[in-house]
């Protein structure tokens, strides 16, 4: 068909003069519009055209305002034409609205069209259209209704939506499917521009989804795609329906009308595939429902037409997004292969795009196509090249980073598009900063290129983070010095050359670095640096911002004496500058250069990058820093009108006001929702990343150190065995360019072959450990980070234990064997996954001094059970009966054996009392002899049980609190022995409900400084999810639900004895956004961990 069109269109020039074309009946070439168009084509200059159009507009204006013109439609079309040519015809806007209002159906149609072309959503004249739309929506004439719905979906003032919404909703029940379909699409449009306006009609969307007309159903999928994107969990129940629909579509069950070039409803298919991808993401059971239909879709879509390729592409994306299934992945990979290898350039492009999407999960796929990728890198079409770089960016690792960055910089040199430049410069900087230390000089050189190429367009955070990196330095002092020195060395020649050509941002970076670090280079006189810097000040194109950077650098450098003349001159020049900042800097320079002592105090060398005062301020309760974008977001939010209804009673709205005063939890939880994918960090192995399945990987550290693997085993293209690497000498010689490419390939795809290096890809990866920057002061919450999870076993030093129970002396017979055993016992405190926090602190209990403090309340001797035949059975005997009477009524944890040797058996449990937590230790003498001199018990006869009761309090919260103790005792022989034990209690055992009123809560909220935010899973059963989730938490963790207001809830609890922790919860996009605050550091972090656990275990 398209051939026919093209043929016809090629014949166009001959038609200009002739009017005998078959379609000419419809050509209104004799009309005034025809004359106008013809007139314009005959003109030769832009000036003439302008004159003609102005004349035309004048004529239209005259006629349009004459009262009973019959030419309105024609006039309007001519105005549209003039506007299209770029001439304003604003006088006709009002007439367009009038025409839509009063004209006949045909005129109305033109009127509406003109309105939709002339005005945009915010134009004030649109208000005049509302009544017309209202009238037409109620018309009995179908065409009028259709027109109204069309114009409504094209542009309609947001705040007028409520006026017509009921009428549009009503149309969902219209007997005519075309009306229903248009109504659904109009609602979709409303949903896009004002989602809260259509929230109440969600169930009507469901009805549209079940509509008997497939067209209406298709239209409703647009809305569903949006809603599922925002909250996939709420629509999981629809998965089987979507799967069934797709099955029917693929199976050709729809009417022929829906076919497009013999392919059944491709748009519908693709929409469904997108929805399925969203639903199946990170959800195995849902994914399993769709495997079959995906397989079917892949099979049915034959490779013969663009539209089937489009479906295949969407299928592949879906397969790689949902929970993986190996045979589907295989088929999808083959499909991508077909795309990439296709001679059709559009398909190749899409293949690259698909590869980029999947390499993070399956880097080997990139390996398979490495030669094609190399070819694409040299493709004459820049778009293809750009897409290839995007792909390479995703597979960058420590070994190929230099080659990839080089390729990117090459591209930057030829690219002229600003947007591309900004984007690429950002990526290069990201890569360079990710792997800086390995190639010191490379890093500085790359950043220099970035600064010169990126110019002043690049994102401002690039120079900032570069300077931060430089100033914070790395673990090795020597490396640190080298890096800084190299930077200085590279900048001096730049300044000696032609600094006028360098972008302002770069000059600012240079002057800062020289100011801070030029002293590292010993052969460089400060005077020379000063004069180089002074030269920058004299340059015409230096911005005043740059100048102030330069002046600050000079202030740091000047020493008085010989340099005095330069600084004197400069400061004199600028101390009268009109720019106040410059004047300020100049004065600073002047004073500080004359007073070296003051200067040393104000600007101590190497002081930069030291932000100790920040952590001090934080500890003192200052609000944490928020990046500008987040602040902006909050600002926007607070500016926007609140559309949610006010609370019912005054106190509620009062309290929510007071919360909002500082930083509304609602707003912040919104922003924390952005990072929603980084949830559930602890205790859970990260299998799923932002984009889908992450391959299992070795620890990062190992990956970074992996040596270049021996020639990469490439599976070869198209399954043939043509090996692609020329690294092996046995290879037959290849032509020169081919060899070059293969060399490039081996340098680009190095490190991809081994599974372990997978981890180096993707943005979300943490920096490899080797390159990790110096750890800053351990602020609250800093140790609660997945990347820092410590999973090695940590050992509690015996010294920590000494003062706990060491006074207890027990006597026993077999001394010598005991000694060895105890030492082993104390060493074996291995950590469970995710509890690193506690143990990490335990390693330095002396300095902290206040980790679980064990307060000995009272020691009670239990009754002697009397002689016992089988000592081994003693522990199995219900120790419950030994629980002190006052505790026996309370619930206690399972009695767990702690440790044992030949004479003693220790077991323990904990009992939760209302205001305390009691640790009960059972000491069982399993030996045949009596034990003497035991302090709590005095003495213990053979096979007896002693019970110690200790009340525990937590002074410094941790996820699990570990109590370590030693039982010392004396053997009858006279040697003292000790037995060490440790017992772990989850923090939750120390949590008690905290009953406060909403007002009290509000006041407390503002006064607490330590906080944390996280998104938790919502429980989605039939009832209200917020209440259900809060109730579950309440039950599991003993929290007190203070109040639930709409979609928000506030909860309070305390850590024994009375350290409060407040929790604000809000339902947001299918997650429960929680924000915890407490005066105690780490308590929010620990509590959120337990909340997560509690919800997961449900």
């Amino acid at each position: 068909m398209s051939d026919v069109v093209e043929k016809t269109l090629t014949a166009l020039p001959s038609l200009l003069s002739l009017d005998s074309h078959p379609g000419s009946a419809k050509l209104s070439s004799t009309s005034k519009l025809g004359n106008l168009i013809r007139g314009i084509t005959e003109l030769t200059s832009k000036h003439e055209e302008e004159k003609l159009i102005q004349h035309e507009l004048l004529a239209i204006k005259e006629q349009v305002s004459s009262p009973n013109t019959t030419m309105m439609k024609e006039l309007m079309v001519r105005s549209i034409y003039c506007e299209m040519l770029g001439y304003e015809a604003s006088f006709s806007y009002i007439h367009a609205i009038k025409l839509a209002q009063q004209g006949t159906v045909l005129e109305k149609r033109v009127g509406y069209l003109a309105v939709s072309l002339f005005l945009n959503e915010s134009h004030e004249l649109l208000l005049l259209l509302v009544n017309t739309v209202l009238k037409d929506l109620q018309s009995t004439n179908l065409i009028e209704v259709c027109m109204a719905l069309t114009v409504v979906s094209q542009m309609f003032p947001k705040d007028m939506i409520p006026a017509i919404l009921p009428l549009v909703e009503e149309k969902l029940n219209h007997p005519k499917e075309i009306i229903r379909r248009k109504a659904v699409l109009a609602l979709y449009k409303f949903y896009l521009i004002a989602p809260n306006q259509v929230q109440h009609i969600h169930n009507k969307f469901r009805k549209a989804l079940c509509d008997k007309d497939p067209g209406v159903m298709t239209a409703s999928l647009h809305i569903y795609l949006q809603m599922i994107q925002e909250n996939p969990d709420a629509y999981k129940d629809l998965t089987p329906s979507f799967v069934t629909i797709l099955k029917q579509v693929v199976g050709g069950k729809l009417p022929m009308d829906f076919n497009y070039h013999t392919v059944p409803a491709p748009w519908l298919q693709i929409q469904l595939l997108r929805i399925l991808a969203l639903l199946g993401k990170n959800d195995q059971s849902t994914s399993e429902v769709m495997y079959e239909v995906l397989d079917e879709s892949l099979r049915r879509a034959e490779m013969n037409h663009n539209i089937t390729y489009a479906i295949l592409y969407e299928c592949v994306k879906c397969i790689y997004t949902i929970h993986p299934k190996s045979d589907l992945l295989e088929k999808a990979a083959k499909c991508i292969g077909n795309f990439v290898l296709s001679p059709k350039i559009n398909l190749k492009y899409l293949g690259l795009k698909a590869l980029t999407y999947v390499v993070q999960q399956d880097p080997k796929l990139a390996l398979q196509h490495q030669m094609t990728i190399i070819e694409c890198l040299d493709h004459p079409d820049l778009i293809i090249k750009r897409e290839t770089l995007e792909l390479l960016f995703r597979i960058t690792n420590a070994q190929n980073v230099t080659v990839i960055v080089e390729k990117m910089l090459e591209f930057l040199c030829i690219s002229e598009d600003d947007h591309t430049t900004i984007d690429l410069v950002g990526k290069v900087a990201e890569l360079a900063e990710k792997y800086p230390l390995k190639y010191n000089e490379w890093f500085i050189e790359t950043m220099n290129t970035v600064f010169s190429l990126g110019g002043d367009m690049m994102q401002p955070d690039i120079p900032n983070s570069f300077l931060k990196l430089l100033s914070e330095g790395f673990d090795s002092v020597e490396e640190d010095r080298k890096l800084k020195l190299f930077a200085v060395n590279s900048y001096v020649p730049l300044l000696r050359g032609e600094p006028g050509k360098l972008p302002q941002r770069f000059l600012q970076v240079i002057s800062w670095v020289l100011g801070e670090y030029s002293h590292l280079r010993e052969d460089l006189e400060p005077a020379e640096v000063l004069s180089l810097l002074a030269k920058l000040l004299d340059m015409k194109n230096s911005s005043s911002e740059t100048k102030s950077w330069v002046l600050m650098a000079m202030t740091k450098l000047c020493k008085g004496g010989t340099d005095a003349s330069v600084t004197q001159e400069v400061s004199e020049t600028y101390s009268s500058s009109l720019d106040t900042v410059l004047r300020q800097r100049a004065h600073e320079l002047q004073y500080l250069s004359q007073d070296p002592e003051l200067r040393a105090r104000v600007l101590p060398r190497g002081s930069c990058g030291n932000f100790a005062f920040v952590s001090e301020a934080l500890a003192a309760g200052a609000a944490p820093y928020k990046p500008p974008h987040q602040r902006q977001e909050e600002l926007d939010q607070s500016k926007a009108l609140s559309l949610e209804p006010y609370g019912l009673s005054l106190p509620i709205s009062m309290s929510s006001c007071s919360i909002t005063d500082r930083q509304s939890p609602t707003l912040l939880s919104m922003s924390s929702g952005l990072s929603g994918d980084t949830l559930k960090l602890d205790g859970v192995k990260r299998v799923w990343g932002r984009e889908g399945y992450l391959a299992q990987r070795e620890p990062v550290e190992e990956a970074a150190q992996v040596e270049v693997p021996s020639p990469i085993q490439s599976p070869g293209r198209q399954g043939e065995g043509d090996s692609l690497h020329s690294q092996t000498p046995t290879q037959t010689p290849t032509p020169e360019p081919e060899q070059e490419k293969q060399q490039l390939a081996s340098s680009l795809f190095v490190g991809l072959a081994s599974q372990s290096s997978v981890s180096l890809m993707g943005k979300s990866e943490p920096t490899p450990q080797r390159f990790r920057r110096k750890a800053k002061g351990q602020g609250p919450g800093s140790s609660f980070n997945a990347s820092e999870q410590i999973s090695s076993s940590l050992i509690s030093p015996p010294s920590a234990v000494d003062n706990l129970l060491c006074n207890n002396l027990l006597d026993s017979n077999n001394a010598s064997e005991l000694a060895e055993q105890t030492s082993q016992l104390s060493q074996r405190l291995t950590t469970a996954n995710g509890t690193c926090h506690t143990e990490a602190e335990l390693t330095e209990p002396d300095t902290k001094g206040c980790n679980p403090a064990l307060r000995r309340d009272n020691c009670v001797v239990a009754a002697d059970p009397g002689p016992h035949d089988d000592p081994g059975r003693l522990t199995e005997v219900c120790l419950d009966s030994y629980l002190p009477a006052e505790l026996s009524g309370l619930s206690h944890s399972e009695i767990a054996p702690l440790c044992a040797n030949q004479s003693l058996n220790l077991s323990a449990c904990h009992v939760q009392k209302e205001d305390s937590l009691i640790l009960v230790v059972f000491i069982i003498n399993s030996s045949e002899s009596a034990i003497q001199q035991m302090l709590p018990a005095g003495e213990m006869t053979s096979h007896s049980v002693a019970v110690g009761q200790y009340s525990l309090t937590v002074k410094r919260p941790a996820v699990h609190v570990e109590v370590v103790g030693t039982v010392s005792y004396q053997l009858p022989a006279g040697t003292s022995q000790s037995l060490q034990f440790s017992y772990k209690v989850p923090l939750t055992s120390f949590i008690r409900p905290f009953v406060v009123s909403t007002e009290e809560y509000g006041t407390m909220w503002l006064s607490f400084s330590h906080d944390t935010k996280q998104n938790l899973t919502l429980i989605n059963d039939n009832q209200e999810p917020l209440t259900a989730t809060l109730n579950a938490l309440k039950k599991k963790l003993q929290l007190h639900v203070v109040e639930v207001i709409g979609m928000e809830g506030i909860v309070a609890c305390r850590l024994l004895q009375d350290l409060p922790c407040l929790m604000h919860c809000r339902v947001n996009a299918g997650w429960l956004a929680v924000w915890l605050r407490s005066p105690v550091p780490d308590l929010p972090d620990c509590l959120i961990y337990h909340c997560q656990r509690a919800l997961q275990s449900l």
Binding site: V5, G23, L33, G86, V105, C146, L192, N346
Partner: protein, 158 residues
């Protein structure tokens, strides 16, 4: 979908449709950028381009360029098929469409587009149905529900 532009080989705008609210200045900038970018493309290049955060999908039919601006995560091939179907719809309506048809009857081209796309999404892909509903509004001043229902019923049966 953000916008659709039709322009000639000389860069003359023939049709513009904006699916999101945009100021006149933005529109002018986009039109200018699109015409220069698309017209500068070499033959045998792919039909896709990146412009700011948008994906530009274009195709040339004889002397006329069809240019579609879509979100960058959109399926480019599908966008290309949208253009193609629109050309087919024009062809069906005008009967062997040529650029002149679109120049002289651009309002008809808009009506067809409105019937095909609505709110930036594909609304109706069937050539017959689009054509019938355009003709129905062309011919009839007043269409009562029953009449149109009958017409469309007949169509479905064809």
């Amino acid at each position: 979908m953000r916008f659709m532009l039709l322009f000639s080989r000389q860069g003359k705008l023939r049709l513009q449709k904006w699916f999101t609210s945009m100021s006149d200045r933005e529109k002018k900038k986009i039109i200018r950028d699109m015409t220069t970018m698309v017209l500068a493309r070499q033959p045998r290049s792919c039909n896709f381009m990146q412009w700011k955060d948008l994906k530009i999908v274009y195709k040339r039919y004889a002397s006329l360029y069809f240019c579609l601006g879509v979100e960058s995560q959109e399926n480019e091939l599908l966008a290309l098929e949208i253009i193609h179907r629109y050309v087919e719809l024009l062809d069906k309506y005008f009967g062997n469409v040529c650029e002149l048809d679109i120049i002289f009857n651009f309002e008809k081209a808009y009506f067809i587009l409105d019937e095909f796309l609505m709110g930036g999404e594909v609304q109706e892909t069937s050539k017959q149905i689009v054509n019938r509903s355009i003709e129905a509004s062309d011919m009839l001043q007043e269409v009562r529900f029953t009449d149109m229902h009958q017409t469309l019923q007949d169509d479905r049966l064809e």
